[in-house]
Structures are given as C-alpha cells and as structure tokens.
C-alpha cells in the first residue's frame, strides 16, 4: 500500500515537473518568435509623440491610423500589391502543377533512369542559385530560345523568366516540392492504381481520377510554400526584375531608405521613419498572416503526413 502510494506520488511529481518545464520553455521560445510582431503592431499604430517619449514602450497612449495611410501612399500600395500578388500567384500555381506532374512521374513509374532523375532533382536543390544566376541573367537578357530565334529578345523585367522556370520545375527550391509530391504519390496503395487499370483507365485517367484526389494535402503544402517563398523573394526578383519599384518588397525597401536617409522631400525624425517602416512591414506580411490564419490547421496537420522525414 505504502509502496504504491509513493510510486504514484513520484509519478505525479514527475509529470508536473515535465509539464512546468515544457510550458516554461514553450512560452520563452514563443516570446522570441512573437517579439518582432509585438514591436511592429504597437509601433504601427503609435503617434510620433509616443515614439519619441521614452516612457512609452509597448502601449501607445493614442492610437492612430495615419502611419498606415502615409505608408500606403508612399509604397503605392494598390499597384505594387497587385503586381506582387499576380506574380506570386502565377508562379505558385504553375510550380504546384509542374511539381505535381514530375513528382507523380518519379513516384509511380519505374522507368530506366528514374533514380538518376531524382538524384538530379536533389542536385538542383543543393547547388546555390548564385552559381547559375549570372548565366541565367544573360540567357534571359539575350533570349533566343537557345539559338532558334534569329534575333535575341530581352525577357528581363517581364514575368517570363519566372514562368519558364516554374513550368519546368526548376524555380527556386522546386527540388523540394518535387520531392514532397514524389513522397506523397509513392505512399499511395498499389491496389488503388491496379484497380483503376483493371477498370480500363489509362495512365492519365488514373492520375486524374484516382491518384490526384488523394494528394490534396501535399498539393496545399507545396502551393503554400511556393506562394510564401515567392512573396518573400528578393533574390530572383532583384535579378530578373532589377529590383523594380513596381513590386511590393522593393517599394517597402525604398520607403525605408527614403525615410532613414532623408531623401527627397521627406526629412523626418528617425522615430517617425520607424513608425512608417513598421506600418509598411505589417502591410507587407498581412497577406501571409491572413493565409496562415486561415490554413494553419491544414498546414500543420498535413505536413506531418507528407512523409518528409528524411532523404
């Protein structure tokens, strides 16, 4: 009796300790992760007087929407937002489709060279994009479909470099997406496919009617990653679009530079510059936060089931 009592107490003490430790760690880490948002949100609604007042740290004494209004105009938000959204949607939809097809080919068919191609997919992933960016830049600057056109055309400043790499599964980190899709299709039961073939479906009908409906989660993951990475991308956009101010990330970078360096007609205190900067950053990440808020359940649940547990 006494033994069971002490064992039970010991067990309880242990669970409580573990639970306290776990929650303490989680709260501490969450604080670090949320810290940038905790600075951004109050700053964006703060007045200049509050920003200068060192006593005001987290909670503004007066809320204002003026920072958003000014940042909205400075960034030319409606136009730059639409441009960036169109580009990100185009790229992510095309990448999702192409990586889905390539992943299906690699995951469900055993043809000579299949493993080699999978190896090449991973190889494209581990080669730094910087290595090939100058040749890519020049190939798109003097584009002649590799010798087929009599005169070269300049594709820089258009969406074509993004589109061409997206439909061929060679865009930024597409190797990763192909890998996710391949793992997804590979995990589907053979019986399902065989049943479809017995019923007289061809390979394409089987893909479309039988395999694809089961791949929803992985497709969503790929689409999300693709969209988020394209939205955040400055690397390829700098290269192909020359950092054009028509796109949101560069417009955001530009207002920050204008304000802090006091260029053009804006000669403002750096406190005020910071407020506008924070409002601008919030407007930039807002679409991502909204998508994440809506889809987080699918996102977290399904990535655990995509089978990316190792190469």
């Amino acid at each position: 009796m006494r033994l069971t009592y002490t064992l039970a107490t010991k067990h309880k003490v242990k669970t409580v300790t573990v639970s306290v430790f776990r929650h303490a760690m989680i709260i501490a880490i969450s604080f670090v992760i949320l810290y940038p948002l905790m600075v951004k949100i109050p700053s964006a609604f703060m007045t200049e007087a509050d920003a200068i007042d060192r006593l005001v740290r987290w909670i503004p004494t007066k809320l204002t929407l003026d920072n958003f209004k000014v940042a909205f105009q400075l960034m030319n938000y409606p136009k730059t937002f639409t441009n960036s959204l169109v580009l990100a949607l185009t790229v992510s939809i095309l990448q999702t489709i192409s990586c889905m097809l390539i992943g299906y080919g690699l995951g469900r068919f055993e043809f000579p060279g299949g493993n080699l191609i999978m190896g090449l997919v991973l190889f494209t992933l581990v080669v730094p994009p910087q290595l090939i960016n100058i040749p890519m830049y020049l190939n798109f600057r003097f584009f002649d479909i590799f010798g087929l056109l009599p005169k070269t055309i300049n594709l820089l400043g258009t969406h074509w470099p993004f589109i061409l790499t997206a439909i061929t599964g060679t865009g930024l980190r597409n190797g990763f997406f192909i890998y996710i899709m391949r793992q997804c299709f590979k995990g589907m039961p053979q019986e399902l496919e065989d049943a479809a073939y017995v019923d007289g479906a061809g390979p394409f009908t089987t893909f479309w009617r039988v395999m694809l409906p089961g791949a929803g989660n992985s497709l969503l993951i790929v689409f999300l990653f693709s969209f988020v990475w394209q939205w955040n991308d400055i690397f390829l956009s700098t290269l192909y679009l020359g950092g054009s101010l028509e796109y949101l990330p560069f417009a955001l970078q530009d207002i920050s530079q204008i304000l802090y360096e006091g260029r053009r007609e804006f000669l403002v205190t750096f406190q005020y510059a910071s407020l506008l900067n924070n409002a601008g950053m919030l407007m930039f990440i807002a679409p991502l936060l909204i998508i994440y808020a809506v889809l987080q359940r699918y996102f977290i649940e399904s990535i655990e089931r995509t089978g990316i547990t190792g190469f």
């Binding site: 992760i33 097809l101 068919f109 043809f111 581990v126 089931r305 547990t309 190792g310």
Partner: protein, 300 residues
C-alpha cells in the same frame, strides 16, 4: 499480336514508360535552366565577360578570376570565411534547437495547438525583406524596447566564463554563437521542427511499448529508439538548413557576390566567387553524407 510480343515487355513495364511523359518538363528544364547555365558558369569563371548590345563576348583568362577573388579583392576572404564559419556554427545550433523543440511539441499537452501555430510562424515570416529591414529599425533598438541586441554582452560574459572552465574551444564557440544568435536560430528552425515532428510521429508506438516491457528508462528509450530513427530527419535538416542559407537575407557572402557582379569587379570574378562557395558547400555535404550514411537507420 506477334508485334506486341516482340517488345518483350509486360504490360506494367510498358506502362512505366509513360513516366517519361510526366517527368519531361523537368528534363527540359534541367537541360535548359540548370545544366546549360551550370556549364556556362564554369566557362564564365575562367573568362572575361564583356556585355555588348545584342550579346556578350568571352575572353579566356585562365584562373585569373579565382586569383582576383582570393588574393586581390580586399574583403572577399574575410566575408567568405566569415560566412562558412557562421554556417558551420549555425547548422548544428539549428539542428539541436529544432530537435529539442520538436520533442517539446510532440505529445499531448494543454495549448499544443497554439504552441504549434506560433512555432511554425517563422516558416511564413522569417524570410526576405522584412528581416533585413528589422535590423536597422529604431523600434528594435536596445534602448527603446529592450531588444535582443543586448545578447552580445551576454555572449562575451559567457565566453569568459566558459574559458575559465577550460572547455574545448569548439564547444565554447558553438555555445556562444547560439546565445548571441538565439532569436536568429529560433526563427530559422521553423521548417526543421516540422521535419523532426513528422519524424517523431512516424515512430511506431509498439517500439516504445516493447521498450517499456523490457523496463528501459526514458533516457535509454531516447538513445535506443528515438535518436537512431531520427537520423534520416537529421540528414534532411542539415541539407535543408544549408540550402536555406543560400537565399537568407543575412547571407553576407551572397550579397557580396551580387555586388561584385553588378557593381564593378566583373561577372567573371563574381562567378569564380560563387564556385569557391559551392566547392566548400559540396565538400561539407559530401562529408555529411559520408559520415551519416552508415549511421542512418531506416525502419523497414
């Protein structure tokens, strides 16, 4: 009928050739948008590149670009070794932290859903331009909001303390970097945590049950079952973290290479610098694969 037989293939084998149709886009893309520029970059790195109005010219210069990068460029070596060092310290730190975080998040507890939502937030947010802008923002300053810039002082103190303890230098460096870059490492760990979590959930519970019946302690359970079965996820995360650093906003080397290309020193030198970078990455990845391939366990 006889014609069909002459192929000497079963229906399944024949069907498998349809796979080529599905992977065709990648083959085309690989040749045109990867292999071609890859070879061109080798050529560029040993050439002088002159861009004209409707094309460019290449003049062979041998290894001059590499020489320029390594011995003439005033900052390249510093930036290059700084970046390599940062990567060697950051990747293990990210790996350890995300493994720890995945174990924290695994299992049932109150607020699990919220914790997960927060922990994966960096996957969405910690990329690109925003991180760069935050670095120079006034509101993030120590004096203003008590930010994490103060960890620099903590790092120095910690280093002095650890030196007193006579710990190995590598260990001290690793720990100090971790402390100085806590927020950076946490924000880069979103994806690795997901991969580890997926790995943890794929371990079948009967293994743990068998362990309990044998009377193993939690400590033994971890080293006998969890750790070995997580090795594939570790390899995946090492590779992911390295790949992730290529396009990270705080990669000084990448920015340096870009300025070299578009800011005067010439395309050739810039490509040579990229090649030096890639060679180091390739050696590291080869080492990782060589070391882990014999120690990686797969269920089944």
């Amino acid at each position: 009928m006889s014609k069909r037989r002459s192929f000497g293939m079963t229906l399944r084998q024949k069907r498998n050739y349809v796979g080529y149709v599905f992977v065709l886009p990648f083959i085309v893309g690989f040749l045109l948008f990867f292999l071609l520029p890859f070879i061109q970059s080798i050529v560029f790195s040993i050439s002088e590149l002159v861009i004209g109005r409707d094309g460019y010219e290449l003049n062979y210069v041998g290894l001059r670009n590499y020489y320029q990068a390594l011995f003439v460029s005033p900052q390249f070596r510093e930036v290059f070794f700084g970046q390599v060092r940062q990567m060697m310290l950051n990747v293990p730190a990210i790996l350890m932290f995300s493994f720890f975080a995945a174990i924290l998040l695994n299992g049932e507890f109150k607020g699990r859903w919220l914790a997960r939502v927060i922990f994966f937030l960096p996957v969405i947010m910690s990329a690109g331009i925003v991180l760069q802008l935050e670095k120079y923002d006034f509101m993030y300053d120590v004096g203003r909001a008590g930010g994490f810039s103060g960890t620099g002082i903590a790092g120095t103190n910690l280093k002095l303390f650890l030196n007193e303890l006579k710990l190995p230098v590598v260990f001290i460096e690793l720990l100090v970097t971790a402390v100085e870059n806590v927020s950076d490492i946490i924000r880069k760990s979103g994806m690795p945590i997901l991969v580890f979590l997926a790995g943890l959930q794929s371990i079948p519970s009967y293994l743990y049950e068998a362990c309990d019946i044998e009377g193993a302690t939690a400590w033994e359970r971890f080293w006998i079952i969890t750790f070995p079965l997580m090795t594939p996820s570790m390899v995946a995360n090492i590779i992911y973290s390295i790949v992730d650093s290529f396009t990270a906003g705080d990669n000084e080397l990448v920015r340096f290479i870009h300025t070299t290309a578009f800011g005067g020193m010439g395309y050739g030198v810039s490509v040579a610098m990229s090649w030096l970078y890639f060679m180091v990455i390739a050696v590291i990845l080869a080492l990782v694969v060589a070391v882990t391939s014999k120690r990686t366990y797969y269920l089944s």
